[in-house]
Symmetry: C2
DNA sequence: TTGTAAGCGTTATCAA
DNA sequence: TTGATAACGCTTACAA
């Protein structure tokens, strides 16, 4: 096992193959105008030496690098990991690598932290998750830094080249319409945090469905959490103490829905017999709690893959789709309203 | 908003400040032998221009870079994310960035994939999670490539400079001893996948506790999963159909424990009244399912932070602790054995 | 089709 | 305490 012997460079390859470095460079970069014999000779030497081009030297000469960043401040761990997997799907087989960076959206230094991150590594591009992606200043910053970016959003935040968008509002409308079809008349809403576009869109979807059915959303039927289990647990208590009690709750994400489920159990309310609960996200937790959660499957992984594609090929970004449909998944946490 | 104007280089700073680039370089690198006046003059120009040193050029000149990789093939999403957070904790304020890379441990190309990853980005160091970390060839590979590494493990896999280790066996022994103290005599085990050192250590911990109490583990009281919810769900069915039925199960991780909980519910077995369940990991899911899971808190985040520290300062790696204690967390999924 | 020379932005060497 | 010059490993002109 050889230890720390200096790695071969393009010069070593050139010398041993008896060609110039430029020729080796051409081999590496698959230049079309190359004699087959020369190419094979050089490739043989490359293989023999185990030569791998130095990415930093390449980056310097090309005045660009092959690093793509993921910027997020997402309270939901599973979301973040699915995003990473989706991005890496797209980057597999390319020379790109994924650099991750959680940020604190509430910090006054948010923007300067992001600036620092992008500048320090001279990132080629970044994918940004909500709610940071909803910040217009962020987009300006990327343009200023000459860094490609794609934003994830629940609405038309940007042009197609810089956006992957999901149809949250519509998907929620369908889900709530389903609840109404089950005979539910008192449908409460456990919303996401104020300032999250996704929270707003999901709330609007619910309101639209209620309005279309001639139902309303009383004050006591509305509560807010911040997308975490604990906040869902807190908010659901208020909701379930209301009189008359709602027969169904649409919760803005699965993790809060799991919290609501806990509350119901503690209060002796049977789900779905006495209360239907619908979540949003379809994180693994949705299928693993009891009863398995009816929810909306958010195609975050596909969105992340598409975003990475746009970042790898910014020139083609505008042609690739930016729109993704969520899918309603019916499991066991919903049932017809008790009569 | 300026767009794509070329970024200032060290030459610009030198020219404007009226010094040589080497002097600017000295300022950047906090060289002690520098006139205060000179330093301040240069710093002013740097601030004015918004100059940020090009990391690729630095990497080339220094013949090293500031990228640390995370290599994992971990079925548990939360574990991976906690690890990332722990590493980033340690890297905060440094010039290091975190590059992530999931691998497929079953692939015949595992080692060559890892080699490719390390070589392609010329990583400075990597942190590797089980079970890949248990592979001796991997350590050899890193040495061959001259890449620093730290392995995470449930046993003494390597020397202290290259390891962060948790005391799984001991922690499980304590947990199972607690079950025995509650009066349980028929304790089953839902083990992790064969070939995982963590699975082995946890199983041994259980066996040691049983032996110490004069209990045994019948064939029917042992099943295996692969650390996923689904596999736990499958394996628990076999365990709970055994006659006589166990009164407690120690499950090798939380996610499988959640699966076991599902089975119990479907079979009408009350937890913890008729069956106690103990998990391992203390992932968020443990607190969010019903009943909240008694489990062992694995200090993965602290371990990751320590690992990143070792990678950032390999020269001090051996002096920093490599040993971490797990902690038993009693929640509501355990109760005295029914008499 | 291949080679030469120059340059990318930084740090190291060594002299002043 | 500073600066000139030569690396670092690669690519892009531009020639040959």
């Amino acid at each position: 096992m050889a230890v720390k012997e200096p790695k071969p460079t393009i010069n070593d390859v050139a010398r041993i193959a008896g060609v110039s470095k430029k020729t080796v460079s051409r081999v590496i970069n698959n230049s079309p105008l190359l004699n087959t014999a020369t190419r094979e000779k050089v490739e043989a030497v490359i293989a023999e030496l185990g030569y791998v081009p130095n990415p930093q030297a390449r980056a310097l000469a090309l005045r660009r690098n092959f690093l793509i960043g993921l910027i997020h401040d997402n309270p939901n761990a599973q979301t973040v990991l699915s995003v990473q997997e989706g991005m890496l799907d797209a980057m597999k087989g390319t020379e790109f690598a994924l650099v991750v960076r959680p940020v604190d959206r509430k910090s006054p230094r948010l923007l300067s932290d992001i600036r620092h991150f992008i500048e320090q590594q001279r990132l080629y591009g970044v994918y940004v998750l909500p709610p940071v992606s909803e910040n217009e200043d962020f987009a300006c910053l990327c343009k200023e830094l000459g860094c490609h970016y794609v934003r994830m959003g629940s609405a038309r935040l940007d042009d197609e080249a810089h956006l992957v968008e999901s149809n949250d509002r519509e998907a929620v409308r369908d889900a709530v319409t389903y609840l109404i079809g089950l005979g539910h008349q008192r449908i409460a809403h456990l919303a996401g945090p104020a300032g999250f576009r996704s929270a707003y869109e999901r709330e609007q979807g619910l309101r639209e469905a209620l309005t279309a059915a001639g139902l309303d959303l009383p004050e006591a039927g509305f509560a807010r959490g911040n997308y975490t289990f604990e906040s869902g647990y807190q908010a659901a208590q208020a909701l379930l103490r209301a009189e008359p009690r709602p027969t169904a709750i649409f919760v803005a994400n699965d993790e809060m829905a799991a919290g609501a489920l806990h509350v119901a159990r503690e209060m002796g309310i049977d789900v779905p017999q006495d209360l239907s609960i619908v979540g949003f996200d379809d994180t693994p937790i949705a299928a693993h709690i009891w009863p398995p959660l009816t929810t909306v499957r958010w195609p975050i992984r596909a969105m992340a893959k598409a975003a990475a594609h746009k970042l790898i090929r910014p020139d083609q970004a505008a042609e690739q789709t930016a729109f993704f449909r969520s899918e309603f998944v019916i499991r066991a946490s919903t049932a017809p309203a008790a009569s």
